[in-house]
Structure formats: C-alpha cells, structure tokens
C-alpha cells in the first residue's frame, strides 16, 4: 500500500462530470516527493481531467485536494502555481515568437508581478534554469526553430523556474524518438532526486516501467489498480487499463503472390533531405518506415503526398507515373496521408466531430447545384464514429471535447472515409491507449486485406512488429536497412536505430 500519511500531494474522492457524463467518479490518488507516479488508463478514462483538477483548470464537483499539506475543495490556477504545481501539457503553451530565454524567464516575472526585466537578466535566469536540469539549448534562438524535444525540455526548465514541487507531464513522449526520450528521462530522474513529485502520463508501457516508481490505473473515471510499479508486469498494466487481455502477436495479413504494385518509388531524391529512395508497396501490403527525428522520414512521407519538393526520381501509382507536386495531385491519384501532429495538422479543434470527419473529399458529397446534404454528412460521420468507436455522446460536439486518443481516431476516420488506394500513416497511434492501438492495427489489417496499400511511419517499434510485412529504417535520408517478414523483431530494429 502507499504511505498516504506522508503523501505530499493527494486527491480524495474526486467527482467531476461534464453534463451527464461522469469523467471522474470518486478518484483518490496520492503522490509523494521523490517519486515518479504513473497515471495510466485508456483514452477518455479521466487522466487529463484529474490533472486539470489538481492544477486548478477545472473545479471538481466534490472531493478534496491536498497540496503540500493545505486542503482545498477547489483551487484557482494561480493557487496551484503558488503551491508549486506545474503542468506540461501536450501543446506546451509556449510562446512561439519569443526566444528560448524569454519563454523560460518571462512567466516567472509575470508571476512575481515585476514590470521590467532586462535582456541580461532574462538570459541569466534562462541559463540557470537550463543548467539546473542539465541541458544545453541555444537560449537566443526563437522558439519556432527548436525541435519538439527541445520544447519539452524548455517547458520543464520554465517549470523549475516557477518553483516546481509537483510536476505533471501529460503524454510528454508522444512526439519523441527513443534517443530524446532517454534525455528526457535523465532530466525527470534528476528532478525526482531533488525532491519533486512527478506524475507521468503515457500510453507506452515500456516507458512507464522504465521511469515510474508507483502507479495508479484509471478506468471509466475510477481507480482500478494502484501500487508499486515493481509489482506490475506489462501485461497486468494493460489488463488493468482495458479490463481484458491485449494481444501483441503479429497480425500482418498473408500477402497474395500475384498482387500488383500500387506505389512504386524509383530513386526518389530531395537534395539534403533524402536520397535515392526506392521501394514499392503492393496491394494489401503494409510497409513500416522508422528512423530518428531528422532522418528524413516525415519529409519522405510528405513528398509522396505532394507536400514536400522532390528533385529527382519518379513515383508510380497503380502502374502509372505521376507528378505529385501538390496534395491535390496526390489525392487525385489515390494517395491519402494522416499527418503526425493532430492538433495543428489534423484537426479543426473548435469544429464539430462531424465536420472534421467529412473534411476530406467534401466535393464528392456534392449533389445537384453544388449543395451538400446535412443529413448525408451526418450519416457518414455517425457510421465512422461507430466503426472506429469514437467515444462521444453527440457528433456535433467540438472535437476539442474529446480525449486525446479519440481525437486521433477522428483524424483516421477522416482519411479512411475517402478509401484511398495508398494510405500513408504518420504516427497513427500517437496518444492512443494500448487496447485501442490494437484495434487501430486491426482496422489497418482489415483494410489491407481489402486491398489498400499502407506506408506506416512510426516510432512505435512494437506496433511496426505487429502489423508490418516489411520495415524500412531510414538514416540520414537513406534507407539503411530493410527487414522483411521473419527478420522483423523489436531487438533487431532497435539495434539498427542506435
């Protein structure tokens, strides 16, 4: 059992509902200093909601919050900050137009209500904060030009600067590759040793096991398991989250011998990004593509979608040579693309779930006079909501009201509804829970069996192993290794990556 008496930060019997739907139904959790506490659960199980309650974003319907010995029935964001609570949300809430230094230092000044601050002072504060967590980032560069991994560390630096005693990290590793995750974990471990209480949310079970000391598992807004991390095996965590056993076996469907090639790349080159890339994907084939950040994998994927310039080489779709200089051209020749960042590239957050699902290929729904019938769109939307089991009470709610994993399904639904010949998926299960991940992989399998060709760009090696016929590793813009069928294994791919 957890030592609740010594817990520095805790919640007791928290209830929170949004309208008729209970997001949290009496949740208790405690976290003590020098501990990395895992908050696990399926999509929509209430993790982010709990974090928002402890950081003063939402007020609970009932329950008690204890921060550093002080009790609150609800609290304001300001109070939470004063008690040392900091959250790193997925979108970081950093200011893109300011420099790294300003991003780290400015919020502190606003908090302390000091009006003026010199450039020198700003830099000093930023340097100290980065030094404190032991990372080296150019503080003078504008935030826009820094990588996602750096942004993550900058957000942590800012948090330490604000006097963090309890740090929530809501899915901090979704956009990071293995190498950056390692760096992040070093920083997290340091903070923990310095006495910070850390709550870590992630859907990647191997990461959870690596960094966390204790765990609380939520399902449908209730705590279903808790205890020391060492007491849980990976299978048990997944089991607690979903309530059923999650299979991790390979499910790549058998390929028919005489299937024709749907996508053929021939010496595709984009100077300084990728070089001499050739491969082909045939009907029903699922090809995985992985590589470190900056290896050129996203650029390659976007080049096939006509979104990134190509300098040499050729692309054939279904046997016909095509010039893909725009997404329009790509879509017209039967290529679909699910981009990696759902918040900025995939979704229209404030618009309804329905509108998001039908956003691609609206013109195909055009009737006479160019009109689109609302009921027809509603029908298409509803059928995808049930097919991908998107958890919502009403399809006209804004997408922003969905939990992260359900938002990801909306992006998938948008592209599946078009039924392209070749589907490029860039990180399709980012932020999706283990159970749903398997379901999405099964959807991919079923589509492949029906003849769709897939290019699956992913950091999630277990996922690639489960579903792919072939896995390509890209390194400095070149395909450095190709694994097919029997050669595909997690260890082999990890080895090639490092």
């Amino acid at each position: 059992m957890l030592a609740t008496q010594t817990a520095d930060y805790s919640v007791k019997n928290i209830v929170k509902s949004f309208g008729g739907a209970k997001a949290l139904a009496g949740v208790s959790m405690s976290v003590s200093a020098e501990e990395v506490h895992c908050l696990a659960g399926e999509n929509g199980s209430g993790k982010s909601t709990l974090i928002k309650i402890m950081s003063g974003v939402h007020a609970p319907d009932s329950g008690l919050i204890t921060l550093a010995g002080k009790e609150f029935t609800h609290l304001s964001p300001r109070q939470a900050v004063n008690e040392g609570v900091q959250v790193i949300f997925q979108d970081f809430s950093l200011l893109p137009n300011l420099t790294v230094a300003e991003n780290i230092a400015l919020p502190t000044n606003i908090l302390k209500s000091s009006k003026f601050i010199g450039k020198k002072e700003t830099k000093k504060i930023a340097e100290e904060a980065l030094g404190y967590i032991g990372v080296d980032i150019d503080i003078n560069s504008p935030l826009l030009e820094t990588s996602i991994a750096s942004k993550q560390l900058i957000a942590i630096a800012r948090a330490t600067n604000l006097g963090v005693k309890m740090l929530f990290m809501d899915e901090p590793t979704t956009a990071l590759t293995r190498k950056e995750v390692k760096k992040l974990f070093e920083v997290v471990d340091q903070l923990r040793k310095r006495g910070v209480a850390i709550v870590f949310v992630s859907h990647k079970i191997d990461e959870i096991q690596e960094i966390c000391n204790t765990i609380t598992v939520l399902r449908n807004g209730e705590v279903v398991a808790e205890g020391l991390m060492s007491k849980f095996k990976a299978k048990e965590i997944a089991m607690a989250m979903t309530g059923s056993e999650i299979a991790t076996s390979r499910i790549a469907p058998p390929l028919s011998k005489n299937s024709r090639a749907l996508l053929e790349l021939e010496k595709l080159t984009s100077i300084n990004t990728f070089d001499d890339v050739s491969f082909s994907i045939s009907e029903g084939e699922i090809i995985g593509l992985t590589g470190l950040l900056g290896s050129g994998r996203t650029e390659l994927a976007e080049a096939i979608f006509g979104q990134y310039p190509v300098d040499a080489g050729s692309i054939k779709v279904d046997g016909k040579e095509v010039t893909l200089n725009s997404p329009e051209a790509a879509l017209a020749s039967g290529i679909g693309y699910v981009p990696p960042d759902r918040l900025t590239q995939g979704l229209f957050l404030e618009q309804s779930i329905l509108r998001n699902i039908v956003a691609v290929g609206l013109d195909r729904q055009r009737g006479r006079w160019g009109g689109v019938s609302k009921s027809k769109l509603a029908k298409i939307g509803s059928s995808w909501i049930s097919e991908l089991r998107i958890k919502t009470k009403n399809p006209i709610n804004p997408v922003s009201s969905l939990s992260g994993g359900n938002q990801q399904r909306v992006v998938l639904a948008k592209w599946l509804s078009i039924n392209p010949k070749v589907m490029i998926l860039n990180g399709p299960t980012v932020g999706v829970d283990v159970g749903s991940k398997r379901e999405i992989l099964e959807i991919i399998r079923d589509r492949a069996q029906a003849g769709m060709a897939f290019l699956l760009v992913s950091d999630d090696i277990p996922e690639l192993v489960q579903i792919c016929h072939k896995v390509l590793v890209i390194r400095h813009g070149k395909i450095s290794k190709e694994f097919s069928d029997k050669q595909i294994s997690e260890s082999a791919i990890y080895k090639e990556l490092n």
Partner: protein, 341 residues
C-alpha cells in the same frame, strides 16, 4: 427523434446563440427608442427610411463577413462599390437622351458592367491573397488605395449625378410596399446563407477559418476557396454600389468611406469570430439593423452626430465585453446540454 434533437442542439450551439442574443438586443433598442421618442422614431415613415438605409450597409457587411470567416478581411469593399457605381453611372449618363430617357437595355448593360467590374476588383484581391500569399489586411489596403485612386483620377474627384429617372426608381421604389433595396438585401442574405450553410464551399470556408494548415492537409483547395470569398465579396460590393447609386441618383469616388469601419463593427457585433471559423448571416443582418436603429433613434432624439459615433463605439465595446463574459459559460453550457441529449 434523435436527429430532431441533434438539429435542435446544433441550432442553439455557439454562434447561433449569438443570434438569439442579438435578437433580444434588437428588441431592447427598439423598445427604448420607441419609449423615448414614439412620435418621431416609432412611425411608419421612420421605419421606411431605415429600410432604405439598411440594405447597402448590410450587403457590404456580408461581403466583409465572408473574408473574415476564412480568417482574412476585405478593406476594399467601399472602394470597389464606388468604382462599380461610377462605371455604371458613366454608361448611364453617356447613353441617356437630353431629357433623361434611357432604354431598359442600357440600364441592364450599365448594371452588368458595374457587376463585372466588382468581380474584377474581387479577382485582383483574390490573386494577391490566395495566389501571391499577401496578408489580406495589407493586400486589400493596397487595392483600397488603388481602386480609390483610379476612381478619383478618372473623375477628378467630381461625382456623377443626375442619373436617369428610370434607374433611380429602382433604388427608391417599393415591392409590395417593401423598399426594393430591402428585398434585394433579403435575397442576397438568403443566397449567401445558403452558400455558407448548404454547400461544400461554405463548409470549407468555416474549416479553413478554423485551421488553415489542417485544411491544407485535408486537401480542400484552400487557395481556391479563399479566392472565391474575395471574388464574391467584390460581387456583393458592386451590388451595394449600384443600390447606392440608384438611391442617391449619383455616384461619387469618395462616398461612404466610413462604411468600411462600420461594416467591420457590424460583422464583429453580429457574432462573426474575427479569427475566422464561426459566424452567421442572420447575425450580421441583425447587427446592421441594431446599429441603424441606434443611429436613427439618436437622430429622432436630436442628439449630436458625434454623440452617435461615440454611442456606436460604446455599443461595440459593450457587446464585446458581454461576449467575453458570457463566452465561457455559454460554451460549457452548450456542450453540457448536447452531452445530455
């Protein structure tokens, strides 16, 4: 049953709530002025005169609304409408007889020429913004100056007046007792409403205004859609120009310069999100009516014109504050309500 409920829920969501709020506001303004000045304000004459003044501003505002829905703005609306009016007026005066007689064909030709010019002006904006990627506010500021300059240059700043009687009769006439411009406005509002709510173009406009990047990744031809909004904006501006010319029996290069700001005020007042993505035609029309009633009410109470300008600004500030205050509560409430259904 469920579908019916969904419909009901969707018609009360966010932007449509603003319409309800505006309706209440309109009624309130109406009651206040009727109470204080029933003899001048609450008269058929005053309502008729308002019904003649509202349409031109409303149509210009609808034009601004279209570009604003995509996250842009069109500052050249008045310059375009004046240019279109001047061309039509020029053709009319050139082709009428000494005593002001003109054939209907020439009237039609003059109007078509004005409309064509409006389309061309809109096309230029579309080119600058959609194809050359110039920021809308800068691009249309430039074309505003350009169109205005052309108009002043060609006319030496002198207005063209004394348009043929037959032409003036359109803008000053009535249709079953309702002023013709008002009827035209209703038709235009219905048409634009139909486009933005019931066509793929309209849905795309909302989506692009919400997230341009996601729209690009959703392959909806964002540039083409944005180009269309400016072309339609030019078209609507030319309609407004023709109505004004007909009503005043004149066209002038510097008519209604204050209309640009007024139109922006109206559009924001009407519940269109200045960042794009949300808004309704009904809201914009209602906002025009509110502001016109305030103007005419102040007139009736014999208030100073400057006072009216201040009040106009005051109304805007008031509504913005109201919006901000109510926004969060309304948003969570409407989500909750739809969750329950």
């Amino acid at each position: 049953m469920n579908e019916l409920r969904n419909r009901f829920a969707s018609s009360t969501l966010l932007s449509d709530r603003k319409v309800t709020q505006l309706m209440g506001f309109t009624l309130l303004v109406l009651l206040i002025f009727s109470y204080f000045s029933s003899d001048i304000f609450f008269t058929p004459e005053n309502f008729t005169s308002m019904a003649f003044q509202i349409p031109e501003v409303a149509i210009l505002s609808i034009a601004v609304m279209l570009s604003m829905l995509t996250g842009g703005i069109d500052l050249s609306i008045v310059a375009t409408s004046n240019l279109a009016a001047l061309l039509a007026a020029y053709i009319l005066t050139k082709n009428m007889s000494e005593d002001g007689e003109i054939s209907n064909l020439w009237i039609l030709m003059a109007c078509l020429a004005g409309i064509l010019l409006g389309l061309i002006c809109g096309g230029i904006n579309a080119l600058l913004i959609a194809v050359l990627n110039i920021t809308p506010i800068l691009a249309t500021l430039a074309t505003l100056t350009l169109f205005n300059g052309i108009a002043i240059g060609l006319t030496n700043g002198v207005s063209i007046s004394g348009l043929p009687e037959q032409f003036a009769r359109i803008g000053n006439g009535t249709f079953f007792g309702v002023p013709t411009p008002f009827v035209l406005m209703v038709l235009i509002a219905l048409l634009v409403g139909l486009i933005i709510n019931r066509s793929s173009l309209g849905l795309k406009i909302f989506l692009i205004g919400t997230n341009r990047k996601a729209a690009q990744y959703s392959v909806m031809g964002d540039k083409r859609v944005i180009a269309w909004t400016y072309v339609i904006s030019g078209l609507l501006s030319s309609f407004a120009g023709l109505i004004i010319a007909s009503r005043m029996s004149a066209a002038s290069p510097d008519f209604g310069n204050s209309y640009i700001l007024l139109a922006i005020v109206i559009v924001v007042l009407g519940g269109v999100n200045p960042m794009g993505g949300f808004g309704t035609v009904t809201g914009v029309v209602l906002a025009t009516i509110v502001l016109q009633m305030v103007a005419s009410g102040f007139n009736a109470l014999r208030f100073n014109q400057f006072f009216y300008l201040a009040a106009q600004g005051g109304v805007l500030v008031l509504v913005m504050i109201l919006n901000v205050v109510l926004e969060n509560r309304r948003r969570s409430k409407s989500i909750n309500k739809s969750l329950e259904s």
